[in-house]
């Protein structure tokens, strides 16, 4: 266990080295967020509502999803596993007396913790200047923390799948783009899931991506639900089993390019 804590800390500290660059990057995230907020506020105007939210609340909705981007969507592509396979260093990784899955989970957790302090919080505060913060009661902290933790874990799992794909495909650029787009489209990142047209709107709340943005942001806005907790929880469990099975297959599959 101590090993994983060291790894989480190292990952946090290595991100910390680039905090100045990340602050510049935050400006871009801010611009994107304000643009999405303007789209919703321009669409809703004074009187209209979407899933019970007016322009102000939809602004807070976008502020939240835009602020947790770096924990769910903008993780290092496949945690660099493809590079490890190309150079052969992945074989050392597999020989270590620690879990391959656990190693990347700890690596990801350190990066997500860093992003929480240096991206999520600053961005939420900047957006708050434009759209304010939602009414919040202490009783909501626990459901929100649980919902956000599951969102971060699902973000890790999705990126882990992109990474282990390198054991079979070598080039993981396309699997990354596919996962990235599915996240953007199906997670409720910009559009609340019930707004999606037709049958898509009926299905997407039950898919794993819904736990990465839609349910956490609904909890943030004071609309937590049992369903919003259970669905992501089930997906976290199912996808963990899938990830561990794939990891086992990957071990036997491994074929490095160099060494």
């Amino acid at each position: 266990m101590a090993f994983y804590w060291v790894l989480i800390r190292k990952s946090y500290l290595s991100n910390l080295q680039y905090r100045a660059a990340h602050m510049i990057n935050n400006l871009g995230s801010m611009l994107f967020g304000l643009m999405f907020i303007a789209i919703w506020q321009g669409t809703l105007g004074e009187g209209r509502q979407v899933v019970g939210f007016g322009g102000q609340e939809m602004g807070q909705y976008i502020a939240f999803t835009q602020s947790i981007l770096f924990q769910t969507k903008f993780l290092q592509r496949g945690f660099g596993m493809d590079e490890g396979i190309r150079t052969g260093s992945i074989s050392l990784q597999l020989m270590r007396p620690v879990s391959f899955f656990g190693y990347y989970l700890a690596f990801c957790a350190g990066s997500q913790a860093y992003n929480l302090f240096f991206r999520t919080v600053p961005l939420l505060l900047i957006f708050a200047l434009f759209v304010g913060l939602p009414d919040f009661s202490w009783s909501m902290w626990l459901p929100l923390a649980g919902s956000v933790a599951m969102a971060f874990y699902l973000g890790f799992l999705m990126n882990y799948f992109v990474g282990v794909a390198a054991f079979w495909t070598k080039d993981i650029r396309w699997s990354f783009i596919v996962f990235y787009t599915l996240n953007t489209t199906l997670s409720g990142f910009m559009v609340p899931l019930p707004v999606m047209p037709g049958v898509i709107g009926d299905i997407v709340p039950y898919l794993p991506w819904s736990g990465m943005n839609y349910y956490p942001v609904m909890t943030y806005l004071g609309h937590s639900s049992v369903r919003g907790f259970v669905i992501p929880l089930i997906w976290c469990a199912v996808l963990t089993v899938v990830a561990l099975l794939i990891t086992r297959r990957a071990r036997s599959q491994m074929e490095v390019q160099g060494g």
């Binding site: 871009g28 910009m190 559009v191 047209p197």
Partner: protein
Amino acid sequence: MALYWKLIRASVAAQMEYKFSFLFSTLLMMVLQALDFLLIAAILLKFDTIKGWNLYEVGYLYAISMMVLSLYRTLCNEIHAFEKYTVQGEFDQLLTRPVSPLLNLFSRSLYLHQIGGFLQGIVVLAVSLWGLYGQGVSVAKALWFLPVSIVSGSLIVLALGLATATIAFWTVRIADFLPFTVYAPINASSYPMHIYPGWLKGLLFSVLPVAFIAYVPSLYLFDKGGAWWYLLLTPLVAAVALGLALAFWRFGIKRYHSTGN
């Protein structure tokens, strides 16, 4: 110029070596970017308009933005990814060549994998213009103006990309600047400018002049309160922006210090 075309031909031949991979990736890129537009379409199908602009009008802005961004990424990829030259010290090699570093960069810049966005833009543009035509809007002016829109818009994006690349002469890395200087502005140009708050609008009409790519001319093209001379602003702003970016580039090169390798 002859040298440029020769290098471009070699680059095309190299990228077409794996034809299936190329076709697959281009097609995939098109489908994925179409999903991006579906999100906006989902909002507009439910609410009809964004501050008075309907799905087809926003679709026109979106299509032009997609097309010019895709052209820029296809034809100027090395400008966009310029930091590899400063990070790895490769820019020193370009300085020792008998042609200008910029021309050299352009000749290496063809990246056909990005053409999917352009093709997808054509589809969205066709659907949007057809939809507007169906609503009784005259689209002839927009069709005539299309080549000017595409060329001028691409030059505006190039100006932003080149100015961002120049920053690398001081900061070495530019990847963290790109969301602010290129990605977000181009995305912002996909929507009518009047939805944005005043300061953001000011930014998109001046320092990051993406408002002139599609929004300003469309005010005249679709009779939304613009005058005929709005059409002149697009190429004019493109020329000024590119001139300023080139001057900035020349200024930056003089202050370039190699990172060595």
